[in-house]
Symmetry: C2
């Protein structure tokens, strides 16, 4: 049987555990790194070790941050009236790159997903409700992924605010528009997206 | 502008330098690793550092190995008569997986590629010729990639053996068959492959 040097196999195994990297890619990366100068490998290794030690979750929005609170929460010049809820820290990055949102964020770090045993208490939902109760927020934008779990989480949040949170009843809850992605052709749109695009049509 | 915590950005940068990993994938991997337990990150980091320290190039075939010579070269029960030349260590892995080759290997660690300034002296060619001169090898199998640089390298080796190496003139030089990949359809084969498949046809 083919066998690889243990140190090489270890690196390949480590890559294979990462999402989206198959066994062939892991192999290629392993063999590639054998030829990389040692200081580059050390740099890579140091970056991995530092990743956890040098970051924390902001106690307000729960974004990954170096500082407490994070640079967005500590920026007092943003709009205090809007709060945008996302599932993952990487979503914040996309909104910030887009650059047209000026309010604050709240990161749930997941979504309600009963099939995988993730309930409301497993994500940062109670912290969200707490923020809504003693805050100037007037609009809560739910930027959850448009799939079953995302929709269920959005419904849960809306229901909770409408029915249980006395201090937050006045808050407008919105969600991102559904419709055709820019640049896409109608020919290839699925029926549900097309239906949503029709529903949400706007006057020109 | 969107900015990420420095430790996270460092990890993303490290992934982005790897071949076949784009900026979006690097971002995903970085954010994924933030949620991985610290001991897993340390394990990954240790594997990277150990990669160089724990491996060497076999002084005979130049495969990546833990031992000197490598486990293939030190296996005296393989066929001494055949030597298979490949460009990269990962190619050896594929031949060993296939499991039907019982001879030895020689890894060039590259191929002659004048456009990228890689000449015969930049790969392990002189070492190959030296092995041929004082060896029982009767067949040299060139398993180089079937592209321009691979063909040029194969031609260079053949010419050298025929014209310059007195001790190696008797050696049969062969190369892998070209033809239709198993499972492929003729409809999608390119003309060159189809031509080679016809040339190399065999009686049933």
């Amino acid at each position: 049987m083919a066998k690889l040097p243990k140190p090489l196999q270890n690196v390949i195994d480590a890559f294979e555990r990462l999402p989206g990297i198959g066994s062939k890619s892991a192999q290629r990366l392993g063999f590639y790194l054998v030829n990389v100068p040692e200081y580059e490998l050390t740099k890579f290794a140091d970056a991995l070790v530092e990743l956890k030690r040098g970051t924390l979750k902001c106690s307000s929005c729960f974004n990954i941050s170096e500082t407490e609170p994070c640079y967005i929460c500590s920026n007092r010049s943003r709009e205090q009236e809007t709060l945008l809820v996302v599932e993952q820290p990487i979503d914040v990055l996309n909104f910030e790159k887009m650059g047209r949102y000026r309010g604050y964020y709240h990161i749930l770090h997941g979504r309600i997903d009963p099939l995988n045993n993730i309930g409301p208490d497993d994500i940062y939902l109670s912290q969200l409700f707490k923020r809504l109760s003693n805050n100037k927020v007037t609009e809560l934008i739910l930027a959850l992924n448009p799939d079953m779990e995302g929709e269920a989480t959005a419904m849960y949040i809306t229901k909770k605010i409408r029915e249980e949170l006395k201090d937050a009843k006045h808050i407008k809850v919105t969600r991102l528009a559904h419709g055709l992605p820019v640049g896409a052709s109608i020919e290839f749109a699925d029926e549900i997206t097309l239906g949503r695009a029709l529903e949400g049509r706007r006057e020109l």
